[in-house]
Amino acid sequence: SERGEDAGAANTLVFGAAGAPKNFDPVFNDDGESFRPIRQMYETLVAYKPGTAELQPGLATEWTPSDDGKTWTFELREGVKFHDGTDFNAEAVCFNFDRWYNMPSAAAQSQMIYYGDVFEGFAKNKGDASGDPVYKSCEAKDEHTAVLNLNEAKGAFPDAFGLTSLSMSSPKALKEHNADEVTQSGESFSYPAYANEHPTGTGPFKFESYDKSANTITLTRNEDYWGDKAKLEKLVFRVIPDENARKQDMISGQIDGYDLPNPADYQALRDSGAQVMVRPTFNILYLGINQKNTPELKDERVRKAIEYAINKEQLAKNQLPEGASARYQFVPEETDGYTDEVEKHEYDVDKAKQLLKEAGAEDLTLEFYVPTEVSRPYMPDPVDIAGAVSDNLDAVGIDVKMRQRPWNGGFKDDIQKHGKHDIHLLGWTGDYGDAGNFVGTFFGREKAEFGFNEPKIFKALADADAKVDDEEQKKAYEDAAVKISEYVPAVPLTSSPPAIVVGGDVQGLVPSPLTDERFVSVSKGQS
């Protein structure tokens, strides 16, 4: 179509999204589809170096903790303006922190998933907030220095300051568009105008429109951006829920890229001239073990036998995208806390059988809970993966009964709440580069998902989290990793790098392990 062409195909990039965003207020979101446009409009104090989980200056040029880890001082970048023309300064930073802490309604609080994770609670004066808040106060020392006071130290910092949810919004816009007015309506929530129509950050792109009939989100270049301006004039996200449709649109040139292509399509996409960019891995797929229901599973030998029985390499090759690898510990290679010291239980059918025999668990029958209606980077097709795992377990004489539950329709309840399973398939994608974000989440305390109480492990993880010094913390997590590998509370299986695909004429996109791609550096045109 002619008009499309002179609209400057070179200056507009259309990116296919799998789903519609929930809204555009960073703090009320927790999913990738919402984050993708948000990341182009907003920035955080601390940023991740493109293509890694390492930190680099963001809106803060420096960040320093106090010795006890309870105070963080941020030196802020100068000359930064929000899209509404107001200045970004220490006051704005504190405004944001205070806003989050003082979020007025339970409804709003319930939407702040990441904030809740990191700061563990809200101001007691409002609503009936629960938990012990980590946040204490924020002061603007001067125009460009903000000081954050905490009630306790947390190992998650400073990495967590880079979470997209904790992006900086314009105080003026927040106030003007009633940003806090999240209301509950029926079984769901309504978001205020700020979140829907007036997202205002400091990022290289500005919000232009969200056309719900055409399902497109249009962003335009922020001409007043403090750094290198975006090369694209326009960035369009078009929602195409169907996987195949995305692929076909990509091949036929309707879109310039989309996220998480089906591994099966890599070849076809490449053949069509597109670039399939495989991200560094930052996730883990594991076979969870619940010791509650079947006594045999309390026996370490049985759990080890399970691990020995599984041919992880073959699994990675047969069922997982290219670049996937077998895993023998939960912390990713790139993250502090990874160690070669762990006990490795490599595929060995005989050993597995022998261990089972020793444990007297030769006629083991296990209920294997598998999620359906879901696809995650670490498990593109859970059922097929589970199938291969079952085949492996069958081969050593374990009778596996597969129970399939829809992801949102019972699986998580059955696993995490009721612990109905013996073994299950699940995984995790890291939020930031901290080992605690992986292992702490899994094994930090007793959970229905795993059904064990092993103080040795709980303590090791708690200690590691409390360390403020980076080196000490690293050692502590390595130590915990070894203990976990010996205990086998669950079987790490594989890590699968998610890919992102863009057209052959798209340059400058750096795939990120955190899926934190910023389109500021992207350009389009004949290479």
Partner: protein
């Protein structure tokens, strides 16, 4: 006619009422729940419980139902869990898309179905008739979504003739008036947008039309055969009327009665088919909303959509009844 219409409308009320109870009960019975759905990846049992409290899902079921009914009656179906938008708003965006697709499909089905059925009947028992019968039966036997894939495969992948999915080219910046893409272009004078929208509409509507087309052909054929044997056609012939008048005024007019009923019945199938077709062609209508809602257990949206589908179904049936009453005077008196 007005009384007839009002009566028919009133008749639907109890059905819809019972349906609302069923839909409500059904959703409460589904495993998982809105809270789980809302919280996504981060749904821990504690969070779910807290969320349930916020949402009032721990209230007695009857209380919940009446709250639901009260809101529904004021046209408030709540907000989607996926997008956070009011369901009614989502529907108002998506409805034109589905309407466009369904009307186009029905249009194709009627446009080609009735003449083909008529021709088959006129050549009853001959090759043309048998060929038509078999073709339409094959049409019924092919799953809609598979046909969609096939069409897409042939016309976009292999021949690159038509766009594979969506409603219009992203780069075409059409003004939205009614939300019906093909119409909007005409209204605003953006003819390239209309052309583009039509190209996008072809494959999905053909796929969706396959079953109603087949059914209409068969019903038309059967009905023309029936009417041809009626006494009044013989009377018309005995009056010496020309063949055209006999066919048009006497045969076809009567034969179309059952066909019009069928068209109404097909709307149900059309809605089912739309869910599948929209998925294949990323159409972004109600079917897409529904499919997402089911996968992600978006309760408010599910409730809204199912009731909406039922209401549409009722309305279409009403339209059919009225059209029936227009062509068949016997119905009016009742």
């Amino acid at each position: 006619m007005l009384r007839f219409t009002v009566r028919r409308l009133l008749q639907a009320v109890p059905t819809l009422f019972v349906l609302s109870i069923l839909v409500f009960a059904w959703l409460r019975m589904l495993p998982g729940g809105p809270a789980t759905a809302l919280l996504g990846d981060k749904a821990t049992p504690e969070r779910v419980a807290a969320m349930n409290a916020v949402l009032g899902l721990d209230d007695p079921i009857v209380v919940q139902y009446f709250r639901f009914l009260g809101r529904t009656l004021t046209g408030d179906f709540g907000n989607s869990l996926i997008t956070g938008d009011p369901v009614m708003e989502e529907v108002s965006w998506a409805f034109p898309a589905t309407l466009e697709l369904s009307v186009a499909a029905m249009f194709l089905a009627v446009l080609f179905g009735i003449p083909m059925g008529y021709i088959a009947a006129r050549f009853r028992g001959r090759f043309l008739d048998n060929a038509t019968v078999i073709t339409t039966l094959v049409g019924v036997a092919v799953p809609v979504f598979f046909l969609g894939f096939l069409l897409k495969y042939i016309f976009t992948q292999e021949m690159s003739l038509l766009p594979p999915s969506g409603r219009h080219d992203v780069l075409i910046d059409a003004t939205r008036v009614t939300g019906i893409a093909t119409l909007d272009g005409l209204l605003t004078g953006e003819f390239d947008a209309t052309w583009d929208a039509m190209l996008h509409l072809i494959l999905p509507s053909v796929a969706l039309a396959s079953i109603p087309f087949a059914v209409i052909v068969r019903i038309t054929r059967a009905s023309v055969l029936d009417v041809q044997g009626e006494d009044f056609v013989r009377t018309a012939d005995s009056k010496g009327l020309t063949t055209q008048i006999v066919r048009k005024r006497h045969v076809l007019r009567n034969a179309l009665l059952p066909v019009s009923t069928t068209i109404g019945l097909q709307t149900g199938l059309l809605m089912s088919g739309a869910v599948l077709t929209e998925k294949v062609f990323a159409w972004g209508g109600l079917g897409t909303l529904l499919e997402q809602a089911i996968q992600q257990r978006d309760y408010p949206r599910l409730q809204g959509l199912i009731l909406l589908f039922a209401v549409v179904f009722v309305l279409v049936n009403l339209l059919v009844d009225i059209s029936y009453a227009i062509i068949d005077p016997r119905v009016r008196v009742r």
